[in-house]
């Protein structure tokens, strides 16, 4: 096999996904913490310090040097040093004692909306806590109990940690990118170097040719899958709670579809550069943005959903999340498996149909 003669490529192909898995598993996280903030205390009273105390003691915030004036506030938010600024107006302590409601201003850096929204939630939490302390101190009448409870249950992921969502998702990404790019390159390389002529003179059918190109990479991808699963379970502590059989079966079909996708791309491009680029750009956007990796499919716009549903990644992601985190059994995943099979067949057919068109 061609691949065996190239140990360096084999090494990249097996080690690459491991490195990526480690880096993504630790790096992609929605657990927003350690937000840098600074204060602009125009009051400097015991009350204002008590208010700010609540921020410095929170694990979500990291204090930076206080702000001196408006220009400083503007400049430091602008440079990206600070994520938020808490500004206490002059006379804060006095107003509080006299029962007037002073106004605390919080400035958020809106350049990163997801972070800003999360930050806003934390700020409100800290603020609430201060109000409660205040109520306790003043021994005012306790607030009447709420008329109803709203009990949130975080299903599938009680600790609400990103790792349980990101690690199964990353497996989906890597089992698409690596096999697709390797297969695409293998075919285009022959085109560019001219050795594809061998295929025309030997009596192989198109399907045999394609499968022959595909199988080695399916093999590599399955090795990747096993190592990635091992990393997920032992390094990240994300156990497979649902049907292992469904996960393995799904992975096998999925890598067939990824390699077939690579073959299909290879039919539309002539140079290896274009092959790398085409595979990269055509796979990353649906897989990262539309599959549900970063946000739920049900919240996307109609065209994004349609594109997402046309790609195998969306189904494999659901299957991967379903077996790792949601503890689903085989029967509830049959739809995803069926969808994977259909997409794989369609992609393979397209790859096969496009093959002769390019040769003339």
């Amino acid at each position: 096999m061609e691949l065996r003669r190239d140990p360096i490529r084999l090494a990249f192909a097996t080690l690459g996904p491991i490195i990526l898995m480690v880096v993504f598993g630790f790096g992609i996280t929605f657990d927003v913490e350690r937000l840098t903030y600074a204060t602009l205390d125009r009051d400097r009273s015991p009350e204002s310090r008590a208010y700010l105390e609540n921020f410095s003691s929170s694990r979500y915030f990291t204090t930076r040097a206080p702000i001196v004036d408006d220009a400083d506030l503007e400049k430091r938010l602008r440079s990206g040093e600070l994520r938020l600024v808490v500004e206490i107006p002059p006379g804060f302590g006095r107003d509080l004692q006299r029962g007037r409601s002073p106004e605390v201003a919080v400035w958020l850096d809106g350049a990163f909306p997801f972070r800003a929204e999360t930050t806003q939630g934390y700020v409100e939490g800290v603020h609430e806590r201060f109000l409660q302390e205040l109520a306790l101190e003043s021994r005012a009448a306790p607030e009447p109990p709420a008329p109803a409870d709203i009990q949130a249950r975080f299903r599938y992921n009680q600790a609400f940690l990103s790792v349980y969502a990101i690690v199964p998702g990353t497996i989906m990404l890597l089992l698409l990118f690596m096999p697709a790019i390797m297969t695409a390159l293998a075919v285009v390389r022959e085109k560019e170097l001219g050795s594809i002529v061998n295929f025309y003179v030997t009596p192989t059918t198109k399907l045999e040719f394609l499968l022959g190109k595909q199988l080695p990479y399916v093999g590599v991808a399955l090795v990747n899958f096993v190592t990635l699963m091992a990393l997920a379970v032992w390094l990240f502590g994300v156990p497979v709670k649902g049907s292992v059989a469904a996960l393995v079966l799904g992975a096998v079909i999925y890598v067939f579809s990824s390699t077939a996708f690579g073959l299909m791309v290879s039919n539309f491009v002539r140079t290896q550069i274009a092959a790398i680029f085409a595979t990269a750009i055509v796979t990353t956007i649906p897989a990262i943005q539309y599959s549900g990796y970063l946000l739920p499919v049900s919240s996307m716009s109609v065209d994004a959903q349609a594109i997402g549903r046309a790609f195998a990644s969306t189904y494999f992601l659901h299957l991967s999340l379903g077996t790792f985190t949601k503890a689903l059994d085989f029967s509830s995943l049959t739809f995803d498996l069926a969808a994977l099979v259909v997409i794989t067949l369609v992609v393979t057919t397209l790859a096969r149909a496009a093959l002769p068109a390019q040769e003339t």
Partner: protein, 375 residues
């Protein structure tokens, strides 16, 4: 002068070979148009269009009010389920939130028996679960209070006013558009420059160049400028036409400063591409290597999830990534309207990292060429 001229001429040759590859040109156009526009419109991380289902076992005026209180654009119109359908719907990932209003809810509220509304959250939907569940509880608490006709919760003794600077509505369209331009710049720069080197080596055309009185650094500089020019032009056009035009994002800062920033960044990434090309022996090797590097730079630039949340060792490591600095400075320039005075450290970092990549790439490129000449 002669050297400059030959660098210029070589670069033109590079552009000409690019122009002949129609598939590649088509991809570049796609990368800077739909690939920027589509995700910005379609896949946003802010809490918008959260999918909600309600299991209303009460059918009272109050439970109807609660369902009506979940309004767009934050929530999609709620669907109704029966109690038995909850698990299947959540397993299939059809809804991020399923709210269960128990029987006799309204009468229990009125009688002061404190019934419990259950809010089931699909906690694998990280981007929406946390924020959304907080919002839903808040909305419901307010709505119930209003239903009871209770005076609005007594004015708290300190009011909190939060304002988001630079993007007052916290619209994600702005963010995703620019993040995608940056991703595509990275991808193109690494691949175009690196692949140009690998291709010449595989086809043996580097020997032709070596016959000419050229230095290795000239060949490299020619590749850097030609590829960088293509990408700067594409990125700037995309910023004007797609981000500013189609997506209607107001750009606060100076576009020329952004272009300067991009040029520095391209110097770094094209050098990185060439460096990778000298490590790889063939195009398939290069493809894999480049893709791995691209994914790391792209996913960890801070454009997907914020850098602040990553483990400290990773943050330190990422200080050596030009993408991190470029992302920071691009965001600062375009949205916060930052001037050179506040982003110069980032610009210098990008340039310094670029210089290191260039130096290492040049050293390896020289060795590669002398090896080839030795053959």
């Amino acid at each position: 002068m002669d050297r400059l001229e030959s660098i210029f001429r070589l670069g033109k040759k590079e552009l000409a070979s690019l122009a002949r590859d129609f598939a590649l040109i088509g991809l570049i156009v796609y990368a800077f148009t739909y690939a920027v526009y589509g995700p910005a419109k379609g896949a946003r991380m802010e809490l918008r269009n959260a999918s909600v289902a309600i299991v209303d076992e009460d059918h009272s005026a109050l439970s109807a009010r609660l369902s009506d209180a979940l309004l767009p654009p934050l929530f999609l119109p709620p669907r109704y389920l029966t109690h038995d359908e909850i698990d299947a719907a959540m397993d299939a990932g059809r809804y991020t939130f399923v709210i269960d209003i128990p029987p006799r809810f309204q009468s229990d509220v009125l009688a002061g028996r404190r019934p419990t509304v259950q809010l089931n959250v699909d906690a694998t939907a990280m981007a929406q679960a946390g924020r959304g569940s907080g919002d839903i509880s808040e909305i419901f608490t307010e709505e119930i209070a209003r239903f009871l006709g209770a005076p609005a919760a007594q004015a708290p003794s300190v009011r909190l006013v939060t304002r988001a600077k630079f993007n007052a509505n916290l619209s994600d369209v702005w963010f995703v558009g620019v993040a995608n331009i940056i991703n595509n710049i990275t991808l193109l720069a690494i691949i175009l420059a690196g692949a140009a080197v690998v291709r010449e080596r595989e086809h043996g055309t580097i020997e032709h160049l070596l016959v000419l009185p050229l230095r290795p650094s000239d060949i490299m500089l020619a590749k850097v400028w030609a590829n960088a020019l293509t990408i700067v032009a594409a990125a700037t056009l995309s910023l004007w036409l797609v981000v500013k035009g189609l997506l209607q994002v107001p750009i606060a800062g100076s576009v020329p400063l952004f272009v300067v920033d991009t040029i520095l960044y391209l110097f770094a990434t094209t050098s990185l591409g060439i460096l990778l090309a000298t490590i790889a022996r063939s195009m398939p090797q290069f493809g894999l290597l480049a893709f791995i590097v691209y994914l790391v730079l792209n996913m960890l630039s801070g454009g997907v999830t914020p850098l602040d949340s990553m483990p400290e060792w990773l943050q330190t490591l990422l200080q050596f990534s030009p993408t991190t600095h470029f992302f920071n400075s691009a965001l600062a320039i375009l949205y916060r309207g930052a001037g050179l005075d506040s982003v110069w450290t980032e610009l210098i970092s990008v340039a310094a990292i670029g210089a290191v990549f260039f130096a290492v790439a040049l050293a390896r490129f020289r060795r590669m060429i002398s090896l080839m000449q030795g053959q």
